[in-house]
C-alpha cells in the first residue's frame, strides 16, 4: 500500500527534491518540532490567532448572557451567519479527507507530503464549524436533549425526517473518523519524536502518545491494515457530509434552496474550498519552514488542478441554477434568480461569480499554477468566494420570498462578525499549536519518497 517512489521518474516529476535520505527527512521534519528556537513568524501567527480567539470568547460569552437575539436574525431571515459559517467551515474540512482517504485508495503518492497538515486542517475546521450549531441553540447545555437520539416516547423530537438531525449524525461521525484517522497516522511519527527527543518530559509525553509503537513488522502490518480500513470508512464521508448539509436547504420549498443539483454541487464546492485552504496554509508554511523539498511545485500544481476541476463543477452548478430558474417557468424561481442578479445583494452575487467563476480560470495556465504567490492570490479569491456563495444561498432567498409584504433585509451584526472572526482565531490557534508540537508533514511517509527508499527498492529488484 505504501507505494514506493518510482525509479523511472525523471527528477523534475518527483514529489521530493533529489538527494534526501531517511535520515535527512526525519531530521528536517522533526527538528521543526524538537527545536528550542521557535521561528519569530510562529509567535506572530500564534499571537494573531490567539487575539482573534478572544473575539470568539467575548462573542460567545455575551451571546450566552444576552441570547442569540444579538445576531441579525429576525423575520423574514431566520437563517444567517451561523449556517453560512457552519457550511463554510465544514466544506473546508473536506479536502483533508479527500487527500487522506480517496487519494490513498487511488495510490496517489503525492498525497503523502500534504496529508498530515490537511487532516489537521479538517479537524480544526470541523471544530470551528461545530461552534455555530452549538451556540445558535442559545442554551447549548440543552442541545443534547434536542438533538441526540433518546427513547422517543413523546414522539416529538428528534424528527428523523429532518436533515438537521442527519447533520448531527453526519458531522459527529465525520469528526470522529477524521480524528481517529489523523491520530493513527501520527503514531509512527510520535514514536520517531519520542526516540529523538532529548528532554525527559518530551520523551515521556511522546512516548505515551505513541502507544508503545516499536516499528516492528507486525506493528507496520497492523498499521497499514488500519489505515486502509479507515480510508475506506472515510471515503463515503467525503460525499455524505456535504450531501447532508445540502439537504438542509434542498429538502425545503424555498426557491434558490430547493434544487436537485445541490448535493453534487455542494460536495464539489466543499472540495474546491478545502483545496484552496490547504494551499493557503501550505504555501506560507513550506516557505517559512523550508519544506520546499517535500511540498514541491508539483504538489502545488496538482492541488491547483483539483481546484480548477472542482471549481468548474461549482460554476456548472451556478449555470444550471440560472438556466433552470428560467426553464422551470416558475415565477418564484425566476424571480429568485433575477433578485440575485439585480436585487439588494447583487453586488455580492457578482463578486461571487468573479471569485469562484472567473478568477480561478487563471489556473488553466501552468505559469500561474507554479507561481506560489499568484496561486495564493487565487486561493484567497476562492476562500472569500465560497463564503459569499453560502451568503447568496441563505439570506438572498429568505429576504425576498413568496410574499412581498413580508420582505426584509439582512445584515450580520457586530456579534455575528465577532463570532465568525473568532472561529478563525480558534482555527489559527489550533493550527499553530499543531505545527509547534507535532510533525506537520508525515515523516515516515515522506521517507518512502526519498532517494534512500528508491535505492532500497532498486536493490530489492536486482
Amino acid at each position: 500500500m505504501l507505494e514506493k517512489a518510482k525509479h523511472a521518474d525523471p527528477p523534475e516529476t518527483r514529489f521530493i527534491a533529489p538527494g534526501h535520505t531517511f535520515g535527512s527527512v526525519t531530521e528536517k521534519i522533526s527538528s521543526a518540532v524538537l527545536t528550542k528556537r521557535t521561528p519569530v513568524s510562529w509567535f506572530i501567527g500564534f499571537a494573531v490567532g490567539f487575539a482573534l480567539l478572544q473575539a470568539l470568547a467575548l462573542g460567545v460569552t455575551w451571546i450566552l448572557v444576552r441570547g442569540v437575539g444579538l445576531w441579525g436574525l429576525n423575520q423574514p431571515v431566520g437563517w444567517g451567519f451561523a449556517i453560512i459559517n457552519f457550511v463554510w467551515w465544514i466544506g473546508i474540512g473536506h479536502a483533508g479527507t479527500l487527500i487522506s482517504a480517496i487519494l490513498l485508495l487511488l495510490n496517489q503518492k503525492w498525497r503523502m507530503s500534504i496529508s498530515r497538515a490537511a487532516e489537521a486542517m479538517t479537524i480544526f475546521a470541523v471544530m470551528c464549524a461545530a461552534m455555530f450549531p452549538l451556540f445558535h441553540t442559545g442554551r447549548p447545555w440543552l442541545a443534547a436533549y434536542w438533538l441526540l437520539p433518546y427513547p422517543n416516547t413523546m414522539s416529538l423530537w428528534p424528527n428523523f425526517r429532518s436533515p438537521l438531525v442527519w447533520d448531527v449524525f453526519a458531522v459527529s461521525t465525520y469528526f470522529t473518523v477524521s480524528l481517529v484517522f489523523w491520530y493513527t497516522g501520527l503514531i509512527p511519527d510520535l514514536a520517531s519524536l519520542r526516540d529523538r527527543a532529548k528532554h525527559r518530559l518530551l520523551q515521556i509525553a511522546y512516548g505515551v502518545l505513541s502507544l508503545g509503537w516499536r516499528g516492528s513488522a507486525r506493528d507496520w502490518q497492523r498499521y497499514e491494515l488500519a489505515s486502509l480500513l479507515l480510508a475506506g470508512l472515510s471515503t463515503p464521508l467525503v460525499l455524505s457530509v456535504h450531501t447532508v448539509v445540502s439537504f438542509d436547504f434542498a429538502t425545503s420549498l424555498i426557491p434558490g434552496w430547493h434544487a436537485t443539483i445541490f448535493p453534487p454541487y455542494f460536495v464539489a464546492g466543499a472540495i474546491y474550498a478545502g483545496f484552496a485552504m490547504v494551499l493557503t496554509l501550505m504555501i506560507p508554511l513550506r516557505r517559512i519552514y523550508g519544506f520546499e523539498d517535500f511540498v514541491t511545485m508539483r504538489h502545488l500544481e496538482n492541488m491547483a488542478k483539483v481546484m480548477l476541476a472542482t471549481g468548474l463543477i461549482v460554476f456548472y452548478g451556478y449555470q444550471m441554477e440560472a438556466f433552470f430558474a428560467w426553464y422551470s417557468a416558475n415565477p418564484y424561481e425566476w424571480f429568485m434568480m433575477k433578485n440575485r442578479w439585480t436585487g439588494p445583494y447583487a453586488y455580492l452575487y457578482w463578486t461571487l461569480i468573479f471569485c469562484n467563476g472567473v478568477a480561478p480560470q487563471a489556473l488553466w495556465f501552468k505559469k500561474i499554477r507554479t507561481t506560489p504567490l499568484l496561486l495564493f492570490g487565487i486561493c484567497m479569491f476562492v476562500n472569500v468566494g465560497m463564503w459569499i456563495e453560502r451568503f447568496i444561498i441563505v439570506p438572498t432567498s429568505l429576504s425576498r420570498d413568496f410574499m412581498p409584504s413580508s420582505w426584509g433585509i439582512y445584515h450580520g451584526t457586530r456579534w455575528d462578525w465577532m463570532v465568525f472572526v473568532g472561529t478563525m482565531g480558534l482555527f489559527l490557534t489550533c493550527f499553530y499549536l499543531f505545527i509547534r508540537v507535532l510533525p506537520m508533514l508525515s515523516i515516515f511517509e515522506v521517507r518512502t519518497l526519498s532517494t534512500s527508499a528508491v535505492a532500497k527498492e532498486e536493490s530489492g529488484h536486482a
Binding site: K6, A8, N107, R161, L239, T243, F247, A250, T251, S252, L253, H258, A259, T260, I261, F262, P263, P264, L312, Y316, Q319, M320, E321, F324, Y327, S328, A329, N330, W364
Partner: protein, 394 residues
Amino acid sequence: MSELRTQAFQAPPDVDRIQRVALALGGVALLVALVGAVVDTEQFYRSYLLGYIFTLAIPMGCLGLLMIQHLTGGGWGMVTRRTLEAAVRTLPLMALLFVPIALGLSHLYEWTHAEIVATDRVLQWKAPYLNPTFFVIRAVFYFGLWTTMALLLTKWSREQDATGGDDWRLRLVSGPGILLFGLTITLASVDWVMSLDAHWYSTIFGLLFMVSEGLSALAFVILMTFFLSRTPEMSRVLTPKRFHDLGKLLLTFVMLYAYLAFSQFLLIWSANLPEEVTYFLIRTRERWQWLSVLVIVGHFAFPFCLLLLRDLKRQANRLAMLAVIILAMRFLETYWLVVPNFRADQMSVHWLDVTVALGLVGLWLAAFCWNLKGRALLPVGDPYLEEALADGHH
C-alpha cells in the same frame, strides 16, 4: 515491451465477423421497423427515440472518457484508448441517425403543437427555447461540436502512432473540450429527454444523464477489452491488474449514478411539489413501480455488491459478464426514463421498442468494428505507453 509495433496489435479477425453479424442483424431489424413505421408512425418515432438515446450513450460516454484519460493519464486510459476512439468516430453516423428524430418531432414532443402551446402558459414561457427551429439548430450545433472534437482527437492520436512523441494538442482540446461536452450534453438531455414532459424540470438531470452515459460507455469498453484480451499480443498487456482498475472505475460509476439518482429522488419526494413530483408518481404507478424496483436492484444493488469482490474485478470473463448485465440494465433504465412520458398510465412493451433498439445497436456496432480495424489496438506512439504498462507500479 520493446517490440511494440503497429503490426503486432491489429484487431483480431473476429472483429470482422462481429461486424458482419451486427450489420446483418441491425439491417434486418431496421427493415422490419420500417414496416412498423408505416403501420404505426407515432409508435415508430417513440421507439426510435428510446433506441437512439440508449445507443448514443455509448459513443458519447466514450467521448467523455477519452478526454478525461487524455487529461489524467494512467494505465486504464492507455489500454482502452483505441476502443474509445473507435466508438467516438461513430458520431458522424449518430448525427445522421438523428435525422428521423428531427423529422418526427411532432410525434414526440407536446411543445411542437401550436394549439397545445396556445392554451398552456408554461409552454408559452418556454417557447423561445422549446421550438422546432431552435431545437434543430441546437442539435446541429451539438453534433458539429462533438464530431469535431472526436475527429480531431482521433486524427492526432493516429498521427502519433507514426511520429511518436508527446502531442500537447490532445490535452489542449480535451481540457476545454470536457467543459463544452458537459454543457452541451446537459442541454441535449433537456432538449431530447426532459422536454418530453415539458412541465417537469430537475437541475441535476444533466449531470445524471452524463454519468449514465459514462456508465454505458464503460460497460461497453470493458466488454470490448475482454474480447480483445483473447488475442495473444493483447493478453500480455491486458493483465488482471488492468481489469481490476476498470472494475473499480465501473464501481465508481455505478455508485455515482445511484448517488445522483437518489439525491434527485429524495429531494423531489421530500418537497412534494406538484410540478416536480409527477415524475416519480408516474414511475411508481401500477406496473411501472416494478420496473423502478428492477432498476434499483439491477442497476445498482446487484452490480454494486458484485463489484466489491476483488476476484470478480480481476477475472476478465466475469467482469465482462457483469458488463453485459449492466448494459441490459442501462436499456431498462433508458426505458424507465423515456417511455413513461408516452405511456404514463400503464407500462407495456411494444414490439417496435425492441426492434428499433436492436437495429440501431446493430448498425452502431458494425460501424464501431469498422473503425476498430486498421489501427493498432494500443496507442503505440504514445511516449507514456511503456510507463503506463509497466506493471505493479501504477
